[in-house]
């Protein structure tokens, strides 16, 4: 699932100083999360201050296991709300990672009726036709 329609630009993430480490890692086919070394807590999306201890200099990037389970999802089935770069239907999943944070992405080789809450998934990376790198989730053994 999640195939692209040719000729329609795929939206790119906006990379700024607070999330650059995240997207740099994606470019290298790694999934990292922001981690506070003082509190030993993960946060996502990246931010400039640890909300637990208010430190701004203990934030580091830690590589994720890449594994999680589908926490919730949306199935786009009509062009009313869907972004036209995607061929219908496509799913957007909210995945709860083993580190405790949740991220959104598309799926890879999961049939629409297989997408369900609780499905174990793992991250994979894909080079898009426009040159950007993005991550998706595929099924894994629990």
């Amino acid at each position: 699932m999640a195939e692209y329609v040719q000729g329609i630009p795929i939206m790119r993430p906006y990379i700024d100083q607070d999330n650059q480490g995240y997207w740099d890692a994606v470019k290298n086919h790694k999934l990292v999360f922001q981690h506070c070394s003082k509190c030993d807590k993960y946060h996502h999306p990246p931010r400039p201050m640890c909300p637990s201890c208010h430190s701004q200099d203990t934030l580091e990037w830690k590589e994720s296991s890449g594994k999680g389970i589908i926490y919730s999802f949306v199935m786009f089935t009509t062009n009313k709300m869907a972004y036209p770069a995607f061929k219908l239907p496509y799913a957007v999943v909210l995945v709860e990672m083993e580190e405790g944070v949740r991220i959104t992405a598309n799926t890879h080789e999961i049939e629409p009726d297989e997408v369900q809450v609780g499905l174990p998934v793992e991250v994979m990376f894909e080079e898009l036709p426009d040159g950007q790198t993005l991550y998706r989730f595929k099924k894994r053994e629990a």
Partner: protein, 391 residues
Amino acid sequence: MAIESIKDKTAIVGIGVIDFSTNIGRSEWYSACQCIKLAADDAGLNIYDIDGMVKNIDDGPDPSYVQKGLGIDNLTYHSESHWGTSAMMNAVQGVASGSCNYCVYYQAAHRVSGPEKSISDYRVAREVKDDSLDMIRYDFFSPFGLIGQPGYVAMMYRRYMHETGITPEQLGWIPVVDSENAAKNPNAIFFDKPITIDDYMKSKVIADPIRELDCAPKVDGAIAIIVTTPEKAKSMKQKPVIISSNAAGMAPEGQFHTSYTRDVITELPEMKNMGDELFRIAGIGPKDIKLAMLDDTFTPYVPLQLEALGFCGKGEGAAFIEGGERIRVGGELPINPDGGLIGQGRFDTTRIVEAVRQIRGTSTNQVAGADTILVASGAGGPADGLILRKA
């Protein structure tokens, strides 16, 4: 006319100022979180006690972003305002009405590095908004090359010269005194040493009659100010600074720096309305003010503010500033002892910070007996201001 009720109802108990820069290398989001933390430290307040957050729409990420860093359980009050330091009014109203106990007003703006170094949707919103502003307001100026704030102000200033006889040799005392004060302020990044009136006269005329030195430079900065009630302030770390009055002002035919449709374009009626209200609420007059923090984003507005706020008569602003004696520390009415925006960069909340330091007695350029201070913002547009006093 009903806001007498705010008199002495609120106090400033914390200020947080990051190191200003012309190339800060971090996001506005980072700086917003940082200055709030600094202000809470200054106030001796636990961050989780903050329950109100206000800001100017254009400056920095909104409270929902800042909240991602601060992790406060519940903000019972959040609100945004538009111009100058008018979000201060939101803070004062929020605390005085009881909607929140500790309200932080933050301004995080990287005007040199640019908002593109910050979060994406907020950046887009800002760009779109700026464009639409141009569509509505400046259609009748831009095709003729009347573009940019220095030019807008120059049109008014030329007329002011014509009507009152003010000269560059007189107006130049604003940047000269600003530079003297900035040289004493370690937070002011633009003048290591003072300039002279000759330096000013030799400086580049960019939109004749406006010189480069008449315009406050852009800067990357962030400031947070914490407001609470005087009762709560009593037991806090800093000597409280009481907000005697707070008011805003608008007037007919106003348009940012381009109120050319007014019968007289060389007055600041918004500032006059605001000042009248400030004095009425506080129950004092211009003579009671020991120090004035005036908006020097563009220097011609300083003599105009002196006239509008009743510190001198109409057309007397030029004589008041000439030679600098009356506006220096020790003079009749010291103005901007922190170096103003000419010395620190375009950042309106610096005026409130310096007023707080002066009343606490911790300024690096202390005015003796500075117990009652007027702060004015928004010259050339909708005005807002404060009268602050010692507890």
